[in-house]
C-alpha cells in the first residue's frame, strides 16, 4: 500500500490563487476604467470642441473687421481718412546678399526722393542696426519693383497705416495722427477718444464736410491766391441753419500722408487758429445790433458823413468819402466808417459789447477742433474803441467767428455753434437769439443790396441771390497798421430769400494784378472767389439758380437813388 503524503502547506494555496484572480480582475478593471476615462475624456473633448468652438471664434472674425482707428467719412460717405494694411519696406542689413552700394543706387531709381546715400547708410552691414525701415509707406508697384531686385534681406511687412485718400483735401480740418497712432491735429485730435474706442471704432465718424464743396473751395481759393500772389487764403462754407461746417479750407496746404518739418507753417488752420481784424464785414453786425436796440429806427434816417469824425485826437476816415449825409443802406453800400461809428456811438458801448458777446466774439469758438484761437477782445472798451470796433477794427476774431455771426444775422437771428459733425434732424441745436427776426429779414435785404449795387457786385453769382459784405482791413503789425498789407474778407450768404449757406473767403496780403487794376480790396479778390465757389458748389448743395427770382429790395432802392438830394 502506498502512502500518499501530501504536503501540509497546501492550506494557503487556494487563497493565493483566489487572490491572483482577484488582482488580475482588479487590474483589468482599473485598465478598463482607465481606457473608459480616456475615451470619455477624448469624447468629451471632441464634443466640447464641436459645441463651443465656433461661438468663440465667430466673434473674433466679426471683431477683426473693426479697424484699430475708425474711418472718417464726409457727409456723403466719401472716405477722408482710413486705416489700411499698407506696405512698408524694411531691411535686415546682415542678411543682404548683393552689394549695398549697387542696391542703394537701384533703390534710389525706384524712390527718387530719397538719395542713394541715405539708402546706403541704412543698407551698410556694419551700421549696428539689425532691422531698419527703408520706407514706411510704399505703393504696390514700388513694392513689386523692389521685390524684383531679388534681395532676400529686404522684407515687406504690412502695417496698419492711416491713409488720407484725398491727400491735401481738408487736411487742416482732418489733421493727422502721430507715428504712435494718436490724433495730433484737427478732427483726428478732437475725436481721438471716439476714433479709438473699441466699442465705436467699427462705425466710421461722419463729418459735416462735403468733399466736393471742399474741393471746389480749395481749387478756387488756390486760383485766387496765385492770381493775387497772396500770402495765404482761407475759405469756409457753413450751413446757416444748423452750424455744420461744409467746407473749411486754409491755404497753403499740406499733405497729411507725408509730413515733414517743411510743412510746419502750412499746418496752421487759418479758419480757427488765426484771428484777424476783419474790418467792414463787422458793419452789418453793429448796425443790426443798433436796429435791434431801436437806435436805427428808419432806413431813411440820415447821418453826417461830410467830414472825418474826430474822437479824442483820432480821426475816423472813409475810404471813399461821401461828403454828404447818408442813410443806412448807403452806409453799408459805400461802407462808411464814419456813419457806422456814429451809429455805434448812439448805441453805446454797453449794448454793442453785449451784442458782440452774444455772438461769441469774446471767447473761443465752440467748434470741436482743439486748435481754436482765442479772440482779441479789447481790454478797455471806451468811446473810441466802441466806434472802431463797430467797423471791425480793434477786435480780432477768427473767420469761423464771423461765419457763425453771419449765419445768425441771416437765418432769422439764431446763433448756433459751429460743428464738424453731421447732425441729424433731432440733433440740431435750438440756438440762442441774437437778433430779432425782423432785423434779420431787413439785413438780408441790405446784404443783397450790397451785392446788387454796392461793393459786393463781383460776388453776384447770377440766379443764386447772393448777399454779403466786403471787408478790407490793414494788418496790425507791431502796434500799428501796415498800410500795404491788407486782409480782405468777403462774408456772404445764399440764397438770400431763404439763406441756407454762409460762405466766408479771406485773403491774406493780396498784391493785386493787372486784371484788378492793381487794386487789393475785397471786391477785387475775395468777392470773385465767392462768386465762383457759389456757381460751382451751390448746385451740389441743392441750391439751384433761378434767373427770374430775387429778393425784394424795392423799398430800399429809392433810398439809394435819393442820395443826391442834400439836406
Amino acid at each position: 500500500m502506498a502512502t500518499v503524503i501530501a504536503r501540509p502547506a497546501g492550506a494557503s494555496k487556494p487563497v493565493e490563487r483566489y487572490d491572483l484572480i482577484g488582482v488580475a480582475h482588479g487590474r483589468l478593471v482599473v485598465l478598463l476604467l482607465l481606457f473608459a476615462a480616456m475615451t470619455a475624456v477624448l469624447a468629451g473633448k471632441m464634443l466640447w470642441m464641436g459645441i463651443s468652438h465656433g461661438s468663440g471664434n465667430g466673434g473674433i472674425a466679426a471683431g477683426g473687421m473693426a479697424p484699430p482707428r475708425a474711418d472718417i467719412l464726409d457727409r456723403n460717405g466719401e472716405p477722408l481718412a482710413r486705416t489700411i494694411d499698407a506696405y512698408s519696406i524694411a531691411v535686415r542689413p546682415d542678411r543682404l546678399i548683393g552689394d549695398p552700394q549697387d542696391l542703394a543706387d537701384r533703390l534710389h531709381d525706384i524712390f527718387p526722393d530719397t538719395s542713394a546715400g541715405d539708402f546706403y547708410r541704412l543698407l551698410k552691414p556694419g551700421n549696428g542696426r539689425k532691422w531698419a525701415y527703408l520706407r514706411r509707406r510704399a505703393l504696390p508697384e514700388q513694392v513689386a519693383q523692389v521685390n524684383a531686385l531679388g534681395e532676400v534681406g529686404i522684407e515687406f511687412p504690412r502695417e496698419k497705416e492711416r491713409l488720407y485718400p484725398q491727400r491735401t483735401l481738408a487736411a487742416h480740418a482732418l489733421g493727422f495722427t502721430s507715428v504712435d497712432g494718436r490724433g495730433d491735429m484737427g478732427v483726428e485730435r478732437a475725436f481721438d477718444a471716439r476714433l479709438t474706442d473699441p466699442a465705436q471704432r467699427g462705425n466710421p465718424l461722419v463729418l459735416s464736410l462735403d468733399a466736393r464743396v471742399q474741393g471746389v473751395m480749395e481749387s478756387e481759393l488756390y486760383q485766387g491766391l496765385t492770381a493775387q500772389q497772396a500770402r495765404g487764403a482761407a475759405g469756409l462754407v457753413m450751413d446757416a441753419n444748423t452750424g455744420e461746417v461744409i467746407a473749411m479750407a486754409s491755404l497753403p496746404v499740406f499733405d497729411p500722408n507725408k509730413l515733414d518739418n517743411r510743412t510746419q507753417d502750412a499746418r496752421r488752420n487759418d479758419i480757427v487758429q488765426s484771428t484777424y481784424e476783419l474790418g467792414s464785414t463787422f458793419k452789418p453786425l453793429a448796425i443790426a445790433a443798433a436796429m435791434d436796440a431801436g437806435v436805427v429806427t428808419s432806413m431813411s434816417k440820415r447821418y453826417d458823413a461830410t467830414a472825418p469824425l474826430a474822437v479824442g485826437g483820432f480821426h475816423i476816415h472813409d475810404d471813399h468819402p461821401m461828403g454828404r449825409w447818408i442813410n443806412v443802406p448807403e452806409t453799408l453800400i459805400h461802407s462808411s466808417n464814419i456813419v457806422t461809428a456814429r451809429i455805434a456811438d448812439e448805441l453805446g458801448s454797453a449794448r454793442l459789447m453785449a451784442a458782440y458777446r452774444l455772438l461769441g466774439f469774446d471767447r473761443r469758438s465752440e467748434i470741436e477742433l482743439r486748435e481754436r484761437a482765442n479772440t482779441q477782445w479789447p481790454r478797455a472798451w471806451g468811446r473810441l474803441t466802441n466806434m472802431t470796433v463797430a467797423y471791425g477794427h480793434g477786435i480780432a476774431v477768427s473767420p469761423l467767428h464771423l461765419a457763425c455771426a453771419y449765419a445768425a444775422l441771416v437765418n432769422g437771428g439764431l446763433y448756433r455753434p459751429a460743428t464738424m459733425l453731421k447732425l441729424r434732424e433731432d440733433q440740431i441745436p435750438a440756438g440762442r437769439r441774437v437778433f430779432s427776426a425782423a432785423t434779420s429779414a431787413r439785413m438780408r435785404q441790405l446784404l443783397r443790396l450790397i451785392v446788387l449795387d454796392g461793393t459786393g457786385r463781383s460776388a453776384d453769382a447770377p440766379g443764386y441771390r447772393v448777399g454779403g459784405k466786403t471787408g478790407s482791413a490793414e494788418k496790425a503789425v507791431g502796434g500799428g497798421y501796415a498800410h500795404h498789407s491788407l486782409v480782405t474778407t468777403f462774408a456772404a450768404a445764399f440764397p438770400m430769400d431763404n439763406p441756407r449757406y454762409v460762405i466766408v473767403v479771406m485773403m491774406d496780403e493780396p498784391k493785386g494784378n493787372a486784371e484788378t487794376h492793381g487794386l487789393r480790396t475785397a471786391a477785387w479778390n475775395a468777392a470773385p472767389v465767392v462768386r465762383r465757389v457759389i456757381e460751382r458748389a451751390a448746385p451740389m448743395l441743392g441750391v439751384f439758380p433761378e434767373a427770374n427770382r430775387d429778393v425784394d429790395v424795392s423799398e430800399l432802392t429809392p433810398l439809394l437813388a435819393g442820395g443826391k438830394i442834400e439836406d
Binding site: 464634443l47 459645441i51 465656433g54 465667430g58 472674425a61 494694411d85 485718400p165 474741393g215 434767373a547
Partner: protein, 223 residues
C-alpha cells in the same frame, strides 16, 4: 429566459453605443460645417480687407485734386449757368421755343413758306420754270393736314375760337388746318406732334430760303 435577458442587455448596450456614435457623428458634422463657415468668414474678411484696400487706392487715385487737374487740362467742364436751369415742368415744356396757341396746340403751317417764296419771286416764276424736283414735304404736310382735319371732324365739335391769323393767300388759307382741341383723340395728337416736328425742322424761314434758292437756281439755268 436568461438568454433573452442577456440579449436584452447587449441590445441596450448596442442601442446606447449607436446613439452615442450618432450623436458624436452629428457633432462632428456640425463642427465640420462650422469650420467651413469659419473658413468662409475668414475668406470674406480677407476679401473685404482687399476690397477696402483697392477702394482706398481708387479713392486716392481719383481724389478731388486729381479730378480737378484732369478737368482743367483735358475736359474743361464748367459749372452750368443760371440760364441752363429750368425751374419747373412748365419751363421744360416750353424749352423747344414753340408756343402753343392757347389751348390749341397746333404748329404753324409749314406750307406758308412755299407760298411766300413764290410771291417773293414773281419774275422767276414767270418764264415757265423748268420742272424742279418737287420736295416731298408739301405733300407730306397736306397729308398731315387732312389727317388733322379728319381728326378735328371726328372730335367733338370744337367751339370756333377766334384765331389771330396773318393775311395770307387765299389758296393757302384753304389748306389752313382747323383748330384741334388738344387731347381730342390720339390720332390728332400724333398728327399735331408730327406737324410740330416739321415746324421745328423746317420752319418758315428755312423753307423760304430753300424756295428762294431753288427759284434762283432754276432762273440761272434758264438764262
Amino acid at each position: 429566459m436568461i438568454a433573452i435577458k442577456r440579449l436584452k442587455n447587449i441590445l441596450w448596450i448596442l442601442v446606447v453605443a449607436f446613439g452615442a456614435l450618432t450623436a458624436y457623428l452629428v457633432s462632428l458634422r456640425v463642427a465640420t460645417e462650422r469650420n467651413a463657415v469659419q473658413a468662409l468668414e475668414r475668406k470674406i474678411f480677407a476679401v473685404r480687407a482687399e476690397n477696402r484696400y483697392l477702394e482706398t487706392e481708387f479713392e486716392a487715385r481719383a481724389n478731388m485734386r486729381q479730378l480737378e487737374a484732369w478737368n482743367s487740362s483735358d475736359y474743361r467742364y464748367v459749372a452750368p449757368q443760371a440760364a441752363q436751369y429750368l425751374p419747373d415742368e412748365r419751363a421744360l415744356a416750353h424749352l423747344d421755343g414753340v408756343r402753343s396757341n392757347g389751348e390749341i396746340y397746333v404748329a404753324p403751317p409749314v406750307m406758308m413758306a412755299m407760298a411766300d417764296a413764290e410771291d417773293a419771286q414773281p419774275e422767276a416764276a414767270a418764264p415757265a420754270p423748268a420742272p424742279v424736283p418737287a420736295s416731298p414735304a408739301p405733300a407730306q404736310i397736306r397729308e398731315d393736314d387732312t389727317i388733322l382735319r379728319a381728326a378735328a371732324a371726328a372730335a367733338a365739335p370744337a367751339p370756333a375760337r377766334p384765331r389771330t391769323v396773318e393775311p395770307r393767300p387765299a389758296r393757302m388759307a384753304a389748306a389752313e388746318p382747323q383748330p384741334v382741341r388738344r387731347a381730342a383723340n390720339p390720332v390728332a395728337r400724333k398728327a399735331a406732334r408730327m406737324a410740330l416736328l416739321d415746324a421745328q425742322l423746317l420752319d418758315d424761314r428755312t423753307l423760304r430760303d430753300l424756295g428762294a434758292r431753288a427759284a434762283a437756281e432754276s432762273g440761272t439755268r434758264n438764262r
